[in-house]
Amino acid sequence: MSKQLDLKTNNNKLDKLLNVENRTALMEMVVYLRAANISDYQVELVRQDLLDMALRSQSRNEPLSGVIGSSYQSFCDEIIRNVEHRAIMQNFIQWLMILSLSFSILVTQDVVFSGYLSRVYHSLSLHSSVDTSYPISAGFLMNTVVIAGASYLIVYLIGKYTFQTKTMHAIFSAISKPKRFGFGFLAGAALMGYFFGIAQLDKFVLFSTNIIIYPAILLTFFVIYKINSKIGHAHLL
């Protein structure tokens, strides 16, 4: 097991020893730290120190706020300011890992949901020749970019605003029901519009490729992901 995974597993075990209040506080802090430009290994090291502080304050029946102050966000900001930040190379490896994993998942999803496999099955059952050309549509490319970007943005926003969840909940609760319904309707309509747009873009085939290339691409991206995660762990990403 790599050094980072080992540390993470150990921290997860220790996390179970915390009381509910301290566990929630620690979870919020770790989520916030993960959104910063710090390596995952560095976050786990800080988490280990925070666990030590929290467990010790727990054993003294002292609130965690008595040790690290009442503003957990300010405390985390101080930590972020004072630890080693990810180098450009580490950032590059991290991005390559995310992109290669996302792409390999989306390529698989595209092949499964495009109906191509059922067409192959149909051809095989009729003992006719299988069409190996696979169309790459503008819709697929658009979807890939949007899903990868949106996933990153969601994770980033959750981390960045983790200490504001109560405030946001209060703001949301203060909005009247008709307004909430209106926002929900607009979001739903935007989503429907997006799906409709993607369906239209799916009709534009940019180029066709041999289906055998697809598993090769998939494998290549997965290998890139694996190599990067090994390099990442070696450089303590």
């Binding site: 220790l14 030590d52 502080m53 467990l55 054993s59 040790v67 930590i79 004072n82 080693e84």
Partner: protein
């Protein structure tokens, strides 16, 4: 109180280096030693980011050791650079102390005179 905190901020780093210079120690013990020496406003959380910075700047070296509570505890020692920083802090502090003492040597006397004049006028 705020002025005291500001004064403390400037000297806290040197005090931490002195505590670590005496013996290999960890965050909580450092804050307890500082409290025992009269610096009561310092908690473990206050000094933790400072310790991280000193470690990043290679003034401190840290090793993890097993603790009874579960998580490994980080113990700090001074590096060569840290020892030099501590010595530099001490020299600067002595100089500053001398400077402030010189500046304030007649202050106490003046204050006493002001008090005496005030009571005579009453």
């Amino acid at each position: 109180m705020n002025e005291r905190s500001q004064l403390l901020k400037g000297t806290l780093e040197g005090c931490i280096l002195k505590v670590i210079g005496d013996t290999e120690t960890y965050g909580y013990e450092i804050s307890e030693k500082l409290k025992a020496n009269g610096i009561s406003v310092v908690s473990e959380g206050t000094i933790y980011p400072l310790l991280l910075r000193l470690e990043k700047n290679e003034i401190l070296a840290a090793v993890y050791k097993d603790s009874s509570l579960g998580p490994k505890r980080k113990y700090y020692t001074l590096t060569k650079k840290g020892k030099a920083s501590l010595h530099e802090f001490y020299l600067n502090w002595c100089e500053l102390q001398k400077f402030v003492d010189t500046l304030f040597c007649e202050y106490e006397e003046e204050q006493d005179n002001v008090k005496t004049t005030g009571s005579q006028n009453e």
